[in-house]
């Protein structure tokens, strides 16, 4: 869970920063999207790096999900009889929503690929015109709702997930605990704000 989580987190930071290119206009955004297909050239053939990354990320998502399923099965089996008196949990909202938040994110990833990679459900769906597709997307109210809700879920998932990964990997200690929790919160807020900035910008007309 921790290893695949950290790999996906690294990708998300790069993804979020790349998305912000949308604020510099269609030319820069579209040429950036084109450049992504040239990474690794001339050692790799065109788009090979992109495909390697895609397979790597899909493997991460699947392994992360399988590990979560196995852990949940084991955890539920370890407490076969529930307590009659169940006071509110003292863990944070982020901690308590890891499982369902993860399910929401998995469904979102499917939607996101159908929307902006295969363009199947995109309102415009014009190949090689990512800027125009993004703008067309966020003019539909329910697409905005899907993206914003998913990014809030992502923020909560990272808030617990980053620090929890440090615990699992043995990177945490008494001295580092505070720093890791602050880093988790900064990452969660930065990624959520960075990703949500795009639909909000289209909604208020900053990007059109």
């Amino acid at each position: 869970m921790a290893g695949t989580g950290v790999l996906m987190l690294l990708f998300l930071v790069a993804h979020m920063l790349g998305n912000l290119k949308v604020f510099f206009g269609p030319e820069e955004f579209n040429s950036y999207a084109g450049w992504l297909r040239t990474i690794g050239e001339p050692v790799l053939h065109a788009s090979w790096f992109l495909w390697l990354q895609r397979f790597g990320l899909i493997a991460c998502v699947v392994l992360h999900g399988v590990a979560a399923y196995q852990l949940s099965r084991r955890d539920l089996a370890a407490r076969p009889t529930r307590y009659q008196h169940r006071p509110p949990a003292r863990a944070s909202y982020a901690t308590r929503t890891m499982r369902w938040g993860g399910v929401i994110l998995a469904l979102f990833i499917v939607w996101h690929i159908l929307d902006l990679t295969t363009l199947t459900v995109n309102p415009l769906g014009k190949p090689h015109h990512p800027y125009e597709n993004v703008v067309a997307d966020f003019q539909v109210w329910y697409v905005n709702v899907i993206y914003i809700v998913a990014m809030l879920a992502l923020g909560f998932h990272i808030r617990h997930g980053f620090w929890s990964a440090a615990q699992t990997l043995g990177a945490n200690s008494r001295d580092r605990d505070r720093l890791l929790k602050v880093t988790a919160n900064v990452l969660a807020v930065a990624l959520t704000a960075g990703f949500i900035a795009v639909p909000v910008a289209v909604m208020i007309g900053v990007v059109s």
Partner: protein, 261 residues
Amino acid sequence: MTAATHGTTSTSTMKLTLRIWRQHSPEDGGSMVTYQIEGVSPDMSFLEMLDVLNEDLILRGEEPVAFDHDCREGICGACGMVINGRAHGPERTTTCQLHMRQFSDGDTIDIEPWRAAAFPVVKDLVVDRSALDRVIQAGGYITAPTGSAPEAHATAVPKEAADFAFEHAECIGCGACVAACPNGSAMLFTSAKVNHLNVLPQGAPEREGRVLDMVAAMDEEGFGGCTNSGECTIACPKGIPLQSIADMNREFFRAATKRRR
């Protein structure tokens, strides 16, 4: 506190409703049974309150409530029950050191046994915690020649290591961490025992085998996995910190990579 103010707390007594898990045998289904109890002093410990209830039950010809207890000083780890959904009740202490002044007159108190697949109920509030003993048997000791006590200055222990070891040695193995964990996990217990010995020079020769064997034994007993919810460390009467689990994980990775070489 003066004697006068201390005296005033014991003059009024409380009337309580108790809902207690009664289970005749491990095979029996069990259920919550309601009891009324009067004349409870705020100065009584929680176990003394149960003693009063049991005297009453015996006089009425009923079966007394079975519960584990031993030192009643908060140092042995024998007692433990889930009170209103919290392991050892509302205060961070052992059940024997919890006092009735934490409750109010007229309260209803729910009392349940530790709940975990690895802790089967023996009777009422008594559970079988020998799973923790088997984790200890897997490596929670130091193999040393017996005989006369060694010279105290023969093995120097750095101050930081001594403090770290002592903090983890405080674990009394009561099992509150397992009872409080939403996953019935024994990670905090096992980490306390591993860290206690692994940081000391006396524990160094068996450092790698200890963590690998104890974690394997823990998994075998059917305890759940850690999701870092932190409930264990809040419930722990000895305040074993949550970072102990990260410390144990670090020991585990170190041992796993070292063994492969």
